[in-house]
């Protein structure tokens, strides 16, 4: 049963081949049996899942259930869930029971999905390896000594190990697409503002966007239909109708203009990864797409601009954790300043502290213009690169990550090496564009991701291009060794 895609679960539930309770129990049993190895969940919500499954079975029996009714999914532990611990993988929120649901959680409740649990992640989504979680690292199901990527490493490992058919995730600089690449999955980060950020614990508010990790592009399309919505409670959410993302999946790619940026194939890219991306380009040509060389000349400035803007926004956002209203509070504070200092120092891990300090530096008097304002100007240049490229192509294609999954500890001592892991994904967040990653082969028995970047609100076109690739290839059907 854990082999089924979301699309197959939807059909099977409707045809009464199995009940939601049966599927849910099956996944809960697998999690109990196998997740000691992967550590992909922080909290398993078995009781809630079985209640929701029973309710879904009633709605399905009544015959008027929404499409996703009864389908179990996992939520990244960055999304607030009423009555359930929402930790963001931080000691700061280890005992935080959210008093409300994130909008996307509410959307999925309304569509009758079942919540299996809350998945592990890098602390406050700051990391590219899932090694900064207070609950310990997540193991990559493809190579147990390697990272699953991050920050949505728990969501990715859970789906790759078939401990959830799909999971929600979030992406600030590559946190959906890079784990999708490293775990052999499909991962989509929608256009900034397409999905509500309300109830998604903030890291860098002008970059954060929720999305999906799934086995297929078709599943991502089905799930995005219910995740995307206009939400008045998120002032940056865009008021725009949500199309049916499955409508164009089957469209021919004949005449699709694909741009390949030369800057994405430079120094630092693993040659075997490059070869698989070039093979994927040939697949697209055989499907009728035309390939065009494009230039994104400010690509090398994306990581530097990001590591000013994201820490600056992080230092502002995380100032709310003060030990007063919720979250960790130190023992016996001697005065208010001691309460703030010790609560924050005990509650935050090393990477979070580093980014808060970098952000405080970039925003401090005398440095604001040289760092923050400069980075925001460069951000506009990066966005303009994409606008210029999209004048002559429909979709941009390249690698998702410079190389496949790396070993635990190999980059933890050098933050800059870790930051460069997101070199191909960060520009998309800075520009606000949608991006996705799909599997395109294996290097040393580990998955490689192909990245597709679309124009603003062109999620349907991206999913169409990804689905057509998956109709012509089998990479997305490969499972990690030992995962039956």
């Amino acid at each position: 049963m854990h082999q089924f895609t979301i699309a197959e679960l939807v059909t099977g539930l409707r045809n009464k081949d199995f009940s939601s309770t049966e599927v849910t129990q099956h996944y809960l049993d697998r999690i109990a049996r196998l997740d000691n190895t992967y550590n992909s969940y922080i909290t398993v919500t078995a009781d809630i899942a079985l209640q929701q499954a029973a309710a879904a079975d009633k709605r399905l029996a009544a015959g008027n259930a929404p499409a996703l009714c009864g389908v179990p999914i996992a939520h990244k532990d960055i999304f607030c869930t009423t009555g359930v611990r929402t930790s963001c993988a931080s000691k700061m929120l280890d005992k935080f029971i959210a008093p409300y649901n994130a909008t996307i959680v509410e959307n999925y409740l309304n569509s009758g999905t079942v919540m299996l649990g809350k998945t592990n992640m890098d602390e406050f989504a700051m990391g590219s390896s899932n090694e900064t979680s207070w609950y310990g690292p997540v193991k990559n199901p493809w190579a147990i000594d390697c990272v699953p990527g991050g920050s949505s490493g728990g969501s990715a490992a859970a789906v790759a190990a078939h401990l959830a058919p799909a999971a929600t995730a979030s992406d600030t600089g590559g946190s959906i697409r890079q784990p999708a690449a490293l775990c052999g999955l499909t991962g989509i980060k929608p256009t900034y503002g397409r999905v509500s950020r309300w109830g998604m614990i903030a890291f860098a508010s002008s970059l954060d966007q929720a999305g999906i990790l799934s086995r297929t592009a078709e599943d991502a399309a089905i799930l995005l239909n219910d995740m995307a919505s206009y939400d008045a409670k998120d002032s940056t959410c865009v008021e725009r109708d949500v199309p049916d993302y499955t409508a164009d999946l089957h469209k021919s790619l004949k005449g699709l203009r694909i741009g390949v940026p030369k800057e994405y194939f430079g120094e630092g890219l693993n040659p075997q990864t490059a070869k698989l991306v070039e093979d994927a380009i040939k697949v697209y040509e055989s499907l009728g797409a035309t390939i065009h060389s494009v230039s994104l000349p400010h690509t090398h400035l994306a990581v530097p601009a990001y590591y000013v803007i994201a820490p600056a926004e992080c230092s502002a956002n995380l100032s709310r954790f003060d030990g007063v209203r919720y979250g960790h509070r130190c023992e016996n504070p001697k005065d208010l300043n001691d309460l703030y200092m010790r609560s924050r120092s005990e509650g935050f891990g090393a990477e979070v502290k580093r980014r808060i300090l970098v952000g405080a530096y970039a925003l401090s008097a005398g440095y604001y213009d040289a760092y923050y304002s400069k980075a925001q100007k460069v951000r506009r240049l990066i966005k303009q690169d994409f606008i210029d490229a999209f004048a002559s192509v429909d979709v941009i294609l390249g690698p998702t990550s410079p190389s496949p999954a790396f070993q635990f500890g190999s980059k933890t001592k050098d933050p800059v090496a870790m930051y460069l892991e997101d070199i191909y994904t960060i520009a998309t967040n800075l520009a606000g564009l949608p991006g996705l990653s799909i599997p395109c082969g294996l290097v040393d028995s580990k998955p490689v991701g192909l990245q597709l970047i679309g124009n603003f609100f062109a999620e349907g076109q991206l999913l169409n291009a990804a689905h057509q690739f998956q109709q012509a290839t089998h990479f997305h059907q490969q499972s990690a060794p030992g995962i039956e």
């Binding site: 029971i97 008093p99 900034y192 503002g193 002008s206 008045a232 002032s235 940056t236 865009v238 400010h298 090398h300 400035l301 990581v303 530097p304 601009a305 590591y307 000013v308 230092s315 003060d322 030990g323 007063v324 209203r325 919720y326 979250g327 509070r329 504070p333 005065d335 208010l336 300043n337 001691d338 309460l339 703030y340 200092m341 924050r344 935050f348 502290k353 580093r354 300090l357 970098v358 405080a360 530096y361 970039a362 401090s364 760092y371 304002s373 400069k374 980075a375 925001q376 100007k377 460069v378 951000r379 506009r380 240049l381 966005k383 050098d414 933050p415 800059v416 930051y419 800075l430 606000g432």
Partner: protein
């Protein structure tokens, strides 16, 4: 731009984070590395480029000035570290 131990102490105070003496050197080094990375920005000519705060250059939406939220003080204070009579408790601030 490199930062030293005294810069770290100043930043830590601003951010209300304690950095122990033992950790200060490591923090100074890793933050200097990050700043060296971001210093690449200084080489770019951005004359006449407007800073970009929002990917869609959106403006703040306005809503009608009516009450839409109900008071949920009890629910929110149920998760607070220390409260009394509907108030959040902190160490004494006024002598």
């Amino acid at each position: 731009m490199a930062v030293d131990r005294s810069d770290i102490a100043k930043l830590a105070k601003l951010a209300r984070i304690q950095i122990t003496d033992e950790a200060a050197d490591e923090a100074a080094k890793s933050i200097s590395d990050v700043l060296a990375l971001v210093d690449q920005l200084q080489a770019v000519n951005t004359d006449g480029v407007l800073p970009m705060a929002h990917p869609l250059d959106a403006v703040q939406r306005l809503r009608a000035d009516v009450v839409t939220e109900t008071n949920q003080r009890e629910a929110f204070q149920a998760i607070a570290p220390a409260t009394q009579d509907g108030l959040y408790l902190v160490p004494q601030v006024i002598e």
